[in-house]
Each structure stands twice: as structure tokens, then as C-alpha cells.
């Protein structure tokens, strides 16, 4: 639209006609990339805050743990329903790998947050498919709201993974709701998603170990050896898996280094707890540390 009114060149030339089309395509792509970068930055920021929130749980026995988990859950839900839904709309009908660089940073931070949350909940590692399903959405437009804030009508379907739809969706900022609403009239409800690549998943898990390490160090003072040893086992499992992967990807290699440092820190923490406990009988240890005796 912007430059068409300028008559610099021979408008009738087929070359010029073709390049006008190219201009349009390029601008559309760059604009979409830019919007995705911004959404990704938002995801990063919000995910980081979830992680910090979860780090506020002291050890494995905190009495406020449930409250924290509830708040973290709400925040994660908001990231999915707000930011990721917008990303999914942008990516609808696209080859997601084309725009991967634009949102990979946010995705990895989000995976770190989600897996950390899950670990707090039940000491398990969230699998790839679960995370992918959380980022699938039915497209169902609110009637006439213009704001970007809460989208009450969006449902997170927890459906089995679907193929990416072919139909492209108009960018959000040009009255996207209308046009996508229009689409849905034709095609009924459809499912859109943000692709979680296996590499992003595993790099997010690598980052998770950094947070596990922080959690472990924080937990030493509780003297809960079992909890600490459990964290150490979990880290070892991830570590052993990573060393079996091989030199596939530069990023994995780089993160393995960090992971090894973190594991050493946790192993040293276990060592400290063990050697500290060696000076009194085992059964007294927990009491001492929980402050139940000798005060």
C-alpha cells in the first residue's frame, strides 16, 4: 500500500509488477517475524517470573507450597492462553520452522518454567507431548472485544496432536478477530498450535537443571537428605541422558557444560550433608536440623 502512489518506475513493466508483489510478500513476512519476536519476549519475561515464584518454595516441605503452585499454574495458563494463542494465530498456515528463530528463546524459557512447575508438583519430568498439547487451541473468537487481555472463550482442548491446518490466518493487528471469525463460519471450529520442537524441549530441560540446582542448594539447610538426594538423582538422570546424546548440536553441547557444573554443585551439597551427619547418630540428625531438640 505504502509506496504504490510513487511513480518512480515504468509501472507497466512486468519486472516492476513482479517486484511489487515481492515487496508485499517480504514486508508481510518481516512484519510477522517482528510480531513474533515481541510475543516471544513477553513469554520469556512471564516465564522467568513463574520460575522465580517457584524458587520461593523452600525445600520439599514448605507449607505454602500449594498456594505457590496454584499461583504458578494460573500464570502458566495465562501465558498459554494469552501469548501462545497469539503466536499460534500468527503461525497458522505457516511452516513453523520458518519463524522458529523468532520465538525459540521464549519457548525454551517457557518449557523451563512448565517442567519446573511439574517437578514441584510430583517430581516428574513433563514430556514433550504434554507441553505440545497445552499449546494447541481451538480457534473460537470472542464476539466483539478488541482488547488483547483475557480471552475467556478460548478453550485449551487437550486433544490428541493434530496436523497443522493449511489455511492461513490474517495477522492479529488488522482486525484479526473478524477475519478469523469469518473463517470459523466456513470451517467450524479448528485447532491451531505452536509447534514445540524436540530441540527446544530438550534445551528447555537443560535449563531446568539450573533451577533444580538452585533448589537443591536452598534445600541443604532444611537437612532433608532424602529430598536432596532425590534432586541429585533427578539431575544425574538428565546428565547421563545428555552425555549419551553425542555432539549433535552446538547448543546441547554448551548446555551440557553448564549442566555438569550444576551437577557437581548438587553432588557436593549431598557430600556436605553426608559428612555433616557423620558426627552424630543418624536418628538425631533430622531433629537437630528441624530445631526440635537442644534449643
Amino acid at each position: 500500500d505504502s509506496n504504490t502512489d510513487i511513480n518512480l518506475v515504468d509501472e507497466s513493466s512486468p519486472i516492476i509488477q513482479a517486484f511489487k508483489q515481492y515487496q508485499n510478500e517480504l514486508d508481510t513476512k518481516h512484519d510477522k517475524h517482528e510480531r513474533l519476536v515481541k510475543l516471544s519476549r513477553d513469554v520469556t519475561l512471564e516465564s522467568k517470573r513463574v520460575i522465580f515464584l517457584l524458587q520461593r518454595i523452600a525445600g520439599g516441605t514448605d507449607e505454602n507450597k500449594n498456594n505457590v503452585l496454584k499461583e504458578a499454574d494460573t500464570k502458566l495458563q495465562a501465558i498459554q492462553d494469552d501469548h501462545f494463542r497469539k503466536i499460534a494465530l500468527e503461525l497458522d498456515g505457516e511452516d513453523p520452522y520458518q519463524f522458529l528463530k523468532a520465538y525459540t528463546a521464549g519457548m525454551q524459557e517457557y518449557i523451563e518454567a512448565v517442567t519446573f512447575f511439574q517437578y514441584h508438583k510430583d517430581q516428574s519430568l513433563t514430556n514433550h507431548l504434554t507441553i505440545q498439547r497445552q499449546l494447541q487451541f481451538t480457534q473460537n473468537c470472542p464476539t466483539d472485544e478488541t482488547s488483547n487481555s483475557t480471552l475467556p472463550n478460548v478453550e485449551n482442548p487437550k486433544l490428541p496432536k493434530l496436523d497443522i491446518q493449511d489455511q492461513p490466518v490474517k495477522p492479529l493487528d488488522s482486525a484479526s478477530c473478524e477475519s478469523s471469525y469469518h473463517d470459523s463460519q466456513i470451517s467450524a471450529i479448528k485447532t491451531i498450535e505452536v509447534l514445540v520442537t524436540p530441540l527446544d524441549y530438550i534445551l528447555g530441560v537443560a535449563d531446568l537443571t539450573g533451577e533444580i540446582m538452585r533448589l537443591a542448594i536452598n534445600s541443604v539447610k532444611t537437612g532433608n537428605a532424602n529430598f536432596l538426594f532425590q534432586l541429585c538423582d533427578f539431575m544425574r538422570e538428565i546428565h547421563n541422558a545428555f552425555i549419551s546424546f553425542g555432539n549433535i548440536h552446538r547448543e546441547i553441547r554448551r548446555k551440557l557444560n553448564v549442566l555438569q557444573q550444576s551437577l557437581k554443585k548438587v553432588e557436593t551439597a549431598c557430600y556436605t550433608l553426608q559428612i555433616r551427619g557423620s558426627e552424630i547418630p543418624k536418628h538425631m540428625l533430622a531433629d537437630v536440623l528441624s530445631g526440635k531438640t537442644m534449643d
Binding site: N3, L8, V9, D10, S13, P14, I15, I16, A18, F19, K20, Y22, Q23, E25, L26, D27, K29, H30, G93, E94, D95, P96, Y97, Q98, L100, S124, L125, N127, H128, L129, T130, R133, D163, I164, D166, P168, P198, Y201, I202, F234, E237, I238, A241, S244, F245, G246, I248
Partner: protein, 232 residues
């Protein structure tokens, strides 16, 4: 229910993914290398147009070059067969340069034969691939544009060698064509990337060709019959 898997399962899955990925990339790499070899062969054939005798046997050279595209199509088909649906850009870096090269080759032949700018449609037809992403294996717009820029460099070289071969009208036509291409590129909003850098080089190609036109003009070697109607 299947959703809950043990940590060990997760990593076993991922390792399988990595192995499969590596094999696939290996496969792609070999196939792309073969294509690059064929593309190089075609380019070597086309180099003949720069020889004094070559410019006159332009269509024979083009025919010879085009006969090689059967191989290209076969090799491309084999490549496409291994790429998972919707993951073109996952492996983009593997064939980015190959496709730019192929665009250049097709565009160069098209120019030599018809003196027009190739369209994405023609290229897709020649290579037997899709025009737009939605339909499958296609050529990324930026790669297409890079291919055109490679062609203009080759044309600026051809303008020089045409004079050596005493074909004085060709540089005129090349000048007009590349000039239009330059105008086209100026319409684009580029980022500070390789395309922008390559486009900056186009200015020097244009300048070079303009100098040839100038040299011919001041020596009265410019053909009287104007460039208006390009031969087709």
C-alpha cells in the same frame, strides 16, 4: 494416559529423535551434494557463452544446458521424497545455496533464450517443484531474489565479453534489462542481511554495464536499431 512417561522414556524418545534426525540430515546432505554437482556441470556448460565464439552459439549452449535439467528434476524428486511434510524450513540451510544457484541457472538460460525475466512459475515448472509454500517444496522468495542477483553479475560479465566478441547490441539490451531489475530491487525493504549485501553489489554490476554502453556510445558503436523490441 500415555502422556505420563518416565524420565527414562522421555530421553530414549529424544535420542531416537536425534538419531533419526541425524540420518535424515545425512541423507539430505548427500542428495544436495549430488544436486550441487549437477548444477556445477550446468554452469560449466553455460560458461561457454563468455567465449568469443560462444555468444553466437547461444541457443545451442542453452539447449545443452537444459538437457541436464532432467537429472536435476530426478535428483530434486529424490530429495523432496525424504523431507517430512511442512518442514521445509527446518532444513532450509541445507539447500538454500543450491536453490539460489538453480534459480540463477534457470533465469540465466531464460534470459539468454528470451531476454525476459524468469518468473517463479517458470522456475517451478522447470524444476518440477511448487510455486508457493502451501503446496509443498518451493523456492523461498529471498533465495529466488538471490538467484536473480547472481544472474545480473553474470550478465554484467557477459556485456563485457559480448564486446570482445564484437556483438555490440547485446550490451545495450543487457543494460536495459539489468536496469529494470535494479529498479525492481529498489522497491524492496531489505534487512541488513546477505540479500541486502548482495543487492549492494548489484549497483556495481549496473555501473559496469553502463560503462560499456558509454564506451560503445562515444565510439559510435551503438547499433542504430533501438533496443525497444527485444527479440523473442
Amino acid at each position: 494416559m500415555s502422556q505420563i512417561s518416565t524420565t527414562s522414556d522421555i530421553f530414549t524418545d529424544f535420542r531416537q529423535f536425534l538419531n533419526a534426525d541425524q540420518e535424515l540430515r545425512e541423507d539430505i546432505r548427500v542428495k544436495v551434494r549430488d544436486l550441487e554437482q549437477t548444477a556445477r556441470d550446468i554452469l560449466t556448460i553455460l560458461q561457454a557463452v563468455h567465449q568469443p565464439e560462444g555468444i553466437k552459439e547461444c541457443s545451442a549452449i542453452c539447449e545443452k544446458a537444459k538437457s541436464k535439467f532432467d537429472i536435476i528434476r530426478t535428483q530434486l524428486t529424490a530429495l523432496i521424497a525424504v523431507i517430512p511434510q511442512g518442514q521445509y524450513y527446518r532444513f532450509h540451510d541445507h539447500w538454500r545455496f543450491l536453490l539460489q544457484r538453480l534459480v540463477f541457472l534457470v533465469a540465466f538460460i531464460e534470459y539468454l533464450e528470451t531476454e525476459t525475466l524468469v518468473t517463479r512459475e517458470s522456475i517451478s515448472e522447470v524444476l518440477a517443484i511448487h510455486v508457493v509454500r502451501d503446496d509443498g517444496f518451493h523456492i523461498d522468495l529471498e533465495d529466488f531474489l538471490m538467484g536473480l542477483l547472481q544472474m545480473s553479475s553474470e550478465l554484467s560479465r557477459l556485456a563485457i565479453n559480448a564486446v570482445t566478441a564484437e556483438d555490440f547490441s547485446r550490451p545495450m539490451r543487457i543494460a536495459k534489462f539489468v536496469g529494470e531489475l535494479d529498479s525492481g530491487f529498489r522497491l524492496l525493504n531489505l534487512k541488513n542481511d546477505s540479500l541486502r549485501k548482495r543487492f549492494d553489489a548489484l549497483k556495481y554490476d549496473v555501473k559496469k554495464i553502463e560503462e560499456v554502453v558509454y564506451d560503445l556510445t562515444i565510439r559510435g558503436l551503438k547499433p542504430k536499431t533501438e533496443v525497444k523490441e527485444t527479440k523473442e
